[in-house]
Amino acid sequence: MTLAEKRKLGSVLVVGAGVAGIQASLDMANSGFYVHLVDRSPSVGGIMAQLDKTFPTNDCAMCVISPFLVEVGRHLNIHVIPCSELERLDGEKGDFKATIVNHPRYIDTEKCTGCGQCRQVCPVVAINEFNCGLDLRKATYIPYPQAVPLAYAIDRNACIGCGMCEKVCLAGAVTYDDKTKITELEVGSVILAPGGEMYDPKEADSWSYSHPNVVTSLEFERILSASGPYRGHLMRPYDREEPEKIAWLQCVGSRDINRAKNSHCSSVCCMYAIKQTMIAKEHSAHELDTAIFYMDMRTYGKDFDKYYSRAKEERGVRFIRSRVHSIEPVENGNLRLRYVKESGESVEEIFNMVVLSVGFKPSSGVETIAKKLGLTLNEQHFFRTGDIRPVATSRDGVYVCGVSHGPKDIPQSVMEASAAASVATSDLSSARWSATRTPQLPPETDFSKMVPRIGVFVCNCGINIGGVADVPAIREYAKTLPHVVHVEDNLFTCSQDTQERMKQVIREKNINRVVVASCSPRTHEPLFQETIREAGLNKYLFEMANIRDQNTWVHKNNPDLATAKAKDLVRMAVAKAEYIEPLHQVKLDVKPAVLIVGGGVAGMEAALGAAEQGFQAYLVEKTDTLGGMAHQLRKTWQGEDIPAYLERLIKDVTNHSKIQIFLNTKPVHFTGTIGSFTTTLNDIHTGNPNGIIEHGAAILATGGREYRPEGYQYGNRPDVMTHLDLDQAMKDTPATVMNADTIVFIQCVGSRNSDRPYCSRVCCTHTLKNAIELKKIKPGMNIFVMYRDVRSYGFRESLYQEARALGVHFIRFDPENPPQMNIAENNILTITVTDHILQRPIVISPDLVVLAAAVLPNENKELFELFKVPVNAEGFLVEAHAKLRPVDFGSEGLFLAGLAHYPKSIDESIAQARAAVSRAVTIVSKDGIMVGGVVAAVNPDRCAVCCTCVRACPYGIPFIGNEGHAVIQQAECHGCGVCVSECPGKAITLQHFTDQQLIAKTRALFYQPAMNE
């Protein structure tokens, strides 16, 4: 076959269903590709599902991730393949054949309803891995209650084969004879997201980990979790006493080549330790003393430094810069820690509990996959990736994201996942929508003006409901309720055959409202809605009564009251059903184009990404050149050539037929909603219009700049320069730099202070890289780095090691006592700094002083107001959610990338730009956006144009339209209903949650209706 004839497949494979794998799958499935999502474990979710809270917002991890889990589980174009592994990959980019090994689960996920009866009867207990072994589970188990797929599995290592589960399973889902199977999948590309594992302190005998009160940080997450082994009650494992004093030991298994043989920094431990101290303090009934023992506090991400100072200043967390050299069990289950303070003083302190902040190591799957697929690993056994192609592996068509190619936090993983989704599908764009499924549905029947005819289906859920409540009595009772024309009870209402029957009954009896009394709408409403839709009913003509999760499961001991309550709940559901109405979603056209504002690396990568995906890209730049800040950089941290990359990128962007570039241009007018925006562009100099463009999404990549330092004689002397000045000098006049015998680097100039309380993230790495280069050229040069914390996160730690090995001197200073510059009368410059180890001031006379100046966002007040996007106090753009929506804005259809979001290295900017493309493509790849449903609707007659909704809406969606009443665009409304409850004229309704419906439901609890005729 010639190149042109090569087959491009419209399906993709994702290996690993942690948060990265989930995000990549959703992005691709939502932009026209069929996704096979493979995971070794019985359910999706990865490590994030085990976390209690997430930094720096302290959001509940499960609350944040579970909507994503549900979406993956129900997505028509995501095929979740649990208990499975990738065995081999043949073929090439665009046309792979993947061989998958499906391990036996012993329970058929198609049949299992998740009722849990099997677990109830299982006589065997086993270690509960989900709770890190802190408690036990049954051999028949589900990893956690929110698991997707919601199906049980049998742990055959623990199972004694008693057959109890098979006997009680009324769905017939237990399959003891389940065997390993092999499946083959045809996919166009592969994304690997097998993730990481936490370092096991048992590997080295250094931390008394065998003591029950020494736990790893992940174990501590489970201890804090409300659904964990202690139900959120802060206790130590040894005696279940509430600890009063807890120590955290940082860098366990990280930055440690002696004990753990891991040189990398795990990037997340500083932050999660701070989080754990704060959450533990909240959980503790008494004053809890928390101490973190650390080497460098690496709070380098967005809002991290503020979080750190909050812990220190407001919560009284003790931060002790010291490595603990021994942990010794003493009486009462306590532990004695010995450490040496920076001042050299030896200290002994007793703690009730010790948490080991364990680092990341690659998941055991990484090495296996690498071998099977022929991929290169780095020295730390993670997948090897470069900076300029940050998510590409050594094999074409195979991409990587998440922790498997380097330790990172959730937002970074999510960003990379989207980036991988974007690059993995850009070559497959010709096959978009070719492998996806679309539901074939009959037209909806029009029931308007017809009296309600309600059908009620009461579920026994095996014996989960029927074993406690009197289902026949509930069924008979439901018959007496108004407008009810059909009632039946089912063994499993959710089973395939009942679904078919339900459709048949709806048609036969002309049922126009359906009530199911079973489990939770959170898990099952979409299924039933699909079913009634298949029977020609609008999916909103549906209501559920939760008589299992919120009734029989919690009132087991009181069958009579459970039956009575079930009747109440059914009556309430029927009462609401009487008033529910069909809601019709409207399809809005989508303009298949993306606007990108900012022509730096992030903007260009975004434009190129969108164009490669087959969409028109409009790239708007306010200056007369593309490239932005990158023009001033020389090499990435791994040493890749930036000027050559930039030249290539500018050429690609300029020559791409789908990219239209507007230089010297700024947007001056912006209107529209997701999928269909209109932006007017003006020439920045003449003020004349440059064009009016229509686009379905927009990406803001407005960049940043280097801070021009005040002080340190910057600008007055040629021997004081910033990093970018140094880079320029190295390029233009290297001799001026190399003549120097002594160079001082001063870190955090303009960062981490009261004006800019954030870490500029890139400066430590930049300093290390330059120091190494200088030392290599001129080994005799004296190089001093004056720092507060060396923040060489991830593999960048290797630069720190190398710099030290090359003899670079590192001197730490306190913010209260920064390095002082003196200019003597003879114009000789000296720097004085207090050395913490020597405890005395050191005076250095450098030939050159390099200031690690802060990274600032570009000021674009007008532009940001035009797009109505928020900025934080420091001027950085604010994303929709710090964890799971790191490139989205709160306003739908708008995305961000690059330095405008936060300081970051070029590889991170590229990844974020590609991620923004992925997110934008989920919109522009569709031929229409469905809007409506559970959204607010304004009744113009009642509107008093009082602006209450305008002010109350948390998203700023309502406005007063030209017609003289409030307007709430269906496409933009998030459906929370705040405006509805505030509106003084009762002019707004939240569809499907109207006053009438909810008051009817309320009333029904207290009124027994008259008998139905």
């Binding site: 008093a944 002010r951 505030e982 003084p984």
Partner: protein, 222 residues
């Protein structure tokens, strides 16, 4: 707009203590905008009254309705066939409402549900502030758009008095000293000399002090 507050429930309960059938009438004008007398508040009041009556074992019937405005006779007239069915009617409009209602339906008893307070606007959702005292002779232009008659607690035309402290009025820490704002604005704009001028004693005849006021537009009135 006219800004009002809902009267305490107990006061309204006492007004209608002996009534068995009550109509609550909201107004879609100012009182809806200031979230005190629209349909929402009418429903809340009706429900609260029902709860109170049911609790005391003296159930009654309450209906709610809302008029476009209670300060125009045409809208008042829409109640013609309705008011007679009730033994008490509660108006949620400003002080104008119950009076227009009483004038139109002299046989019926009308009760005010709100305390009418001032002319002002919303400074944010849920907070309204006075801006105008309706003095009948506007002098705002002398004070750079800030009215000391309405907003100085002593209506000083030559302020600020000695009680002005850190931009706040002597009466409370949360009351802005308008004179502080006036002076600062004049200073910023280099027009402090405006405040060296003596303002003669104000003619209060155009205010309420001149007796009940009327506005007659010859070209409109017939």
């Amino acid at each position: 707009m006219i800004v009002a507050d809902r009267k305490p429930l107990v006061e309204i309960q006492e007004m209608v203590a002996n009534s068995r059938k009550i109509l609550v009438i909201g107004c879609k004008g100012c009182v809806t905008v200031c979230n005190v007398g629209g349909l929402k508040e009418a429903e809340i009041l009706a429900s609260s009254l029902r709860i109170g009556r049911n609790k005391n074992g003296k159930p009654m019937e309450i209906d709610e309705t809302v008029l476009e405005r209670q300060c125009d006779p045409e809208y008042i007239a829409q109640l013609k066939d309705k008011v007679g069915n009730y033994d008490a009617v509660i108006s949620m409009a400003c002080g104008v409402g119950p009076q227009f209602l009483s004038e139109a339906y002299p046989e019926q008893k009308f009760f005010p549900a709100v305390n009418t307070k001032f002319f002002g606007g919303a400074v944010q959702h849920g907070i309204w502030e006075e801006r105008c005292a309706g003095c009948g002779t506007c002098v705002i232009h002398h004070y750079d758009g800030l009215c000391p008659i309405a907003r100085c607690s002593k209506s000083l035309q030559h302020g600020p008095c000695g009680g002005s402290s850190k931009g706040k009025c002597e009466i409370a820490n949360d009351v802005v000293c308008i004179w502080d704002l006036i002076v600062r604005k004049k200073m910023e704009q280099g027009r402090l000399d405006d405040l060296r001028l003596f303002q003669p004693a104000k003619d209060w005849r155009t205010a309420r002090d001149g007796g009940p006021r009327r506005s007659i537009r010859e070209e409109l009135a017939s």
